[in-house]
Amino acid sequence: MRYAETGFNLEIDLTRGNIERVETDPRDTELYLGGLGTNAKILWDRVPPEVEPFSPDNLLIFSAGLLCGTPATGCNRTIVSTISPQTELMAFSMMGGFWAPELKYAGYDKVVLRGKSPNLIYLWINNDKVEIRDASHLQGKGAIETAELIQDELNEPKAQVAAIGLAGENRVYFASIEQGRSSASRLGVGAVMGDKGIKAIAVRGTKDINVAQPAEFMELCNEVLEYIKFRNENPIPGVMTILQGLGSPQEMATHDEKWHTENFMWGNSRVRRRDFWNEEIAKEWKETMESMQTRLISCYNCPMKCGATITPTGQPTYMMKCFSKLTYTMAAMSDLEFGFKIAGLAQEYGVDGYSTPQVMAFALELYENGILTDDDFPGMPSDNEGRFYWLLDRIVRREGIGDVLANGTYWAAKEIGKGAKEYAHNTIKKHEQLPLKLSMLNPVYFLMYSTGEKINITQIEGQFPQAPYPKREHREAFVKDWFQVPDEKFKQYFLDWEPRGENSNPYYPTVQMSCDIVDWQERMHYIDDALGMCSGLSSFPLKPPYHMHNYPKFISAGAGIEMDEDKLTQAAKRYRTLVRAINIRRGMRRADEKPPEDHWKKRFPELEKELLDTYYKFKGWNNDGIPAKESLHELGLDYVAEDFVQRGILTDSEDAPSKETSAETEKK
């Protein structure tokens, strides 16, 4: 018997309309765990680097995590993997909600989609019965609307539906996949779904999910619940509101707008408004929040209720989570009411709440600077908010300038030319980032921004405080019950970290410490993504209930795979390296690994070079960021090494790249 996982994937060929239920190899689970890990293995094996994102040969994988559907609190993530149209690298976007556990109960771990359907369809997975159904009547419908229509026509209110909106159908590069209160938004996974002609996937399952050691597993679950209660009652002092507690994070329950509006950038990630906040705004925004928000809501099997139902005046109800409450507001230099209103519309269209506002602010900046002109914006209203609505509509329909903007700031700037590149200033690996511009370089963040392959800072940071506490006594108090650290040395790193003086940014944490810290942070995210755990209970917050010490036990008792901390570390390293290998094979190199030029005002080129050199070595990658043969061998990834040699990415004799790569820009 297979535990925690079902042991079956659904393989669907959309071109031929063929559906197969395929048993998976339990050895792969042991090596790559599940979720992101096994997704990476499939993409490596089956999608060669020549395959374009919109090729029928590109795969779109919806995967439940290894422990989804077990009673482990908060384990509900769907990991969507494909090749991104925007970065042309591997995309792995996650969504919470209810979809992944339902897939497990239907008897599958993954849905692997290949080919392209000639007409718009949706999939109906109802336990053993899987159908490809016509969706022509759903064309152009909103993502949330689509879910409701499908539940109605199937007469299955309990079906969980993941759907795209107009943006996905029109292959907007930052189109999302929406699923009730959650969405897989980053890197254009919705565009690939639209390209394949899939409007939605509806799932209903009524089968059992087994665990290997029931008593042990329940005890672990109960410990986690107890600790969540403890953390809810004991917020962490000395950090901003959303970092005090657990969750992904608690943007709906808390009024932290002061912090974000004064510290994040407005417009096209340009203006910092340090004294934006005042009592009047506080009162007004609080009223907006309270009048539009109906209820705080959770994902499957989780008490944290990080989302909320929002009903803007005169608009249908939708569900919101995280930071999208402020992204539109700040990009349009507007207020919270506008943010809530346009976000509802954007969700029906199915677009990413991070990239979309920035793309629009970027377009307006080009307009203000004469690079785009009135001819590009026929009929655009004159007020800022009106312009945002107008632009959103053009983008999701790919009309006029919207067709160019729908490819994101990087590609749009390229197409527009005339110096537009300078305005697409906030991307990493061609992907829009959070609007943050800071003063002093932070070595840990430098490494995370540079090397993170999820290409979103929130998907690599966490666990280690973002800034030092001013007083040593506070730091001592913080480390006292910090049992989550994988190694005691992290406590010392934090204790000695000062806001000013010798032990402060950018030279402290030291290069070596920074490598350790980033490696730990990243590892936890990768483990979450394989198990299907919400990062809001694990890798993201300070002092989370899931950590390096209880995860191996969860895997042993849940999936029946013998596991300890070393073996888990090694497994995470294995598929993390495989993700990099996929991207390396697609051309990613050191030169692509850098934060936006203007992310910090104070930069330190020599230190930055040393950081990257050391971190690459630490990870077992050569100086160009390519996993070296020896480390591939250690991880049991000899097949990657062989492929690299065959393609001339590595040479037979040594680990140095055999040819000069265009990417190398470090000035010696």
Binding site: P71, G205, T206, T294, R295, C302, P303, T317
Partner: protein, 180 residues
């Protein structure tokens, strides 16, 4: 008339305003009733189900009550505070009109047993796992008139006797036992 007797009334209080729709109650109920205990889980087997329609702000955790062989003559449909609830939304019956509270494969009825176990649990598990307190547990003692509890079959037979007369029933039973 019987004597006064003490009885423990077990109540699970449901505050729908505190429900966030997470369905943890379903997960743990089905895990607890798995054979062996906790070896699997499957919300479709749970004895509590959350009727959930977030866009309408409808959240109703419902407990599985008695099995009924035939559905009601009519349906009920409630509107509370302007929110329209599904037909029979608050009903606890395992009823032929819907798939709620039935084992998914056998169709056998499910019924909440308040997590009966030996030794007794401090609180039913769905309550323990609902840490947002939408579900809370209360026990109180009540004095009740002791009545001879009728057995289920007796209730059924009595109903038949009312209808056909005792003689006819005896005849029928005799005939049936010969056939077998």
């Amino acid at each position: 008339m019987g004597e006064k007797k003490k009885k423990i009334i077990k109540t699970i209080k449901v505050d729908v305003d505190l429900c966030n729709g997470c369905r943890a109650c379903e997960v743990i109920c089905s895990a607890f009733h798995a054979e062996p205990k906790y070896s699997s889980n499957n919300p479709a087997r749970s004895r509590i189900r959350v009727i959930r329609d977030p866009l309408k702000d409808v959240y109703v955790p419902v407990y599985a009550g008695e099995y009924t062989a035939s559905e009601c003559m009519g349906r009920d449909k409630y509107t509370i505070d302007g929110k329209e609830y599904d037909e029979c939304a608050f009903c606890r019956a395992s009823c032929p009109s819907r798939d709620l509270f039935k084992e998914p494969d056998s169709g056998l009825p499910l019924k909440c047993d308040m997590c009966e176990s030996d030794p007794d649990l401090e609180e039913p598990l769905c309550v323990q796992w609902c840490i947002t307190d939408a579900l809370t547990y209360e026990e109180r003692e009540e004095e009740v008139e002791e009545e001879l509890e009728q057995e289920e079959m007796e209730i059924g037979l009595e109903a038949l006797a009312d209808k056909f007369g005792l003689d006819k029933i005896m005849d029928t039973v005799a005939r049936m036992s010969v056939k077998d």
